[in-house]
Amino acid sequence: MLAVAAAKKRGPFALDVRFDLPTPGVAALFGRSGSGKSMVVNTIAGLLKPDVGRIVLDGSVLLDTQLKIDVAPEHRRMGYVFQDARLFPHLSVAGNLRYAERRAAGSAYVSLDTVTGLLDLGALMDRRTHQLSGGERQRVAIGRALLTQPRLLLLDEPLAALDGARREEVLPYLESLRDQLSIPMVYVTHDYEEVLRLATHLVLMESGVVIARGGLAKMSLEPHLRSLIGPDQVGAIIDGVVLGFDSASGLTKVRVGRNGDLFVQSKDLAVGTPLRVQLLARDVIVSTQIPERLSVRNCLAGRVTGVQDDDLGSDLITIDIGGAAILARITKAATRELSLTPQMNVWALVKSVSLRGHSFAVPTAAPTSAASPDA
């Protein structure tokens, strides 16, 4: 577990955060720019000294201002991937990687070969750093951070400086990192797409404080998140399991909750593969009767658990479908007409084409029950 408590005043800005995260797992620090996300990561790395604070990673105290413990950054064994990569310009790609490898402490669990293979760095080894594209630079930076054999990988908006296509070039590498190495990560971003693709946990920050945190499925329902991502991105995120692939329709059948089945467009995935599905609230239709003769592929039986005003003139209906919650945005008129109230049985309809699945390996090590009750 990573436990962070830190307070620091810097001019008019005051950082005051307190949270803990299960390890391994990928925690996204999410918030607008200027909300203090980078300060948190720098504090964890030891590059920023908080006025008061305590940081504990898997039982070892890295910082405790009361006990006057402050492990120097060079001894914290944190891999840090900076937004601007910060590759050493006087060294080649191989030189940069070896710089980290030579100074690594502790047991080596990631070899140079593993890193080179995982991040496809083989062809870049002899290049000078200024000959690399933005995406390549970040891949080298990630590799360099991994070779320190880190106990925790910190990534401060690693893709923010890249355009859409370059971003898509690096994201799959981060996914395979998460799925194959199970190194705990703290990932700073203001891009919800990256959260969706990578995070297991979400910490929402605003003006220097944590306003909400928890597992991604629970957090996708969180009202605070809505103002950060905009109405079109609002929607439940559900971690399901692949039940089968129908090659005739090209749809993957995914089990969500205890007994809900969703048909999702995705590539052929093995039965049993964890698949994360985002159901955008604007794509979900609510019916009070069993619908018949519709083109919609997905019809989930559920129970209304909440009706909330979404501050945009419509209502957000929370529907429990066998243990998993989904959100539907409907007009207030519709709420009235269907007289939707909690405990009502309803059917939620979603077009398959509006569903995206992200394959996702759940972290393998220690279960996270103790660390985070909401996981």
Partner: protein
């Protein structure tokens, strides 16, 4: 060198050797002072800055005179050096190197400072997270990244050292084979009747050296910049 007279080649050799010694002595000191001035906040920083730059604004004769007071036979550093190590500075080439070093020191510090200020602290932080301790970081990141500035500083200081006149002649006088560098030899030639030809030759020699130094400096810094990918 065949096309130089014995006196000329001696003055040239002396100039090069004194300039080289002064630069070698100054380099580590200049890096240290530049480091203190840019990276460390301490009381008296502004004063140290001013003292370092004094030779730039003082008449060289005054610097020579102060050196005479401090390092002369009765000066308190000079007498101690003589007693403790048997080092004689007055009227020797070591003394000339010292005077030259003091005069070119501010040039060197300025160059080091600029190059140090251009080093991205973010790269040092990155090295830190990779497990590099302070001395390691300095040797493997800071120093290599300072290289363009160091080369420029060394060459500028060396060229300036070749031409140092006032402080040298005041502190260690004008002694053939010991302290008579190119500018002093040129001055001597001008003072002696019929020395115009010798003076012109020495002036030409200085000109060639200066030009060569500048070209060398340009070539070096281009190479280093290419190495750093700038």
């Amino acid at each position: 060198m065949m096309w130089l007279t014995a006196d000329e080649s001696e003055a040239l050799r002396l100039s090069l050797s004194i300039a080289a010694r002064s630069v070698a002595f100054n380099l580590p000191a200049a890096i240290l002072i530049a480091w203190l001035l840019t990276r460390v906040r301490f009381v008296g920083r502004t004063l140290l800055d001013a003292v370092v730059h004094l030779p730039l604004v003082l008449p060289p004769v005054v610097v020579g005179y102060i050196l005479l007071l401090l390092f002369g036979t009765r000066g308190f550093i000079g007498s101690w050096l003589q007693r403790a190590f048997g080092i004689e500075l007055l009227f020797t080439s070591n003394g000339a190197a010292l005077a030259t070093a003091v005069m070119s020191f501010p040039l060197m510090v300025r160059a080091m400072r600029i190059s140090l200020e251009n080093v991205d602290r973010g790269l040092e932080d990155a090295a830190r997270t990779l497990g590099a301790r302070a001395a390691d970081r300095f040797a493997t990141i800071t120093l290599p990244l300072m290289l363009p500035g160091i080369t420029a500083g060394v060459i500028t200081a060396f060229s300036a050292a070749l031409g140092e006149f006032g402080a040298v002649i005041t502190f260690v006088s004008n002694i053939p084979g010991q302290t008579r560098t190119l500018p002093l030899a040129l001055y001597t030639a001008l003072q002696s009747p019929g020395g115009e030809h010798a003076a012109a030759r020495l002036a030409g020699l200085s000109l060639g050296l200066g030009l060569g130094g500048l070209l060398l400096s340009e070539w070096f810094s281009r190479r280093v910049r290419r190495m750093l990918g700038r």
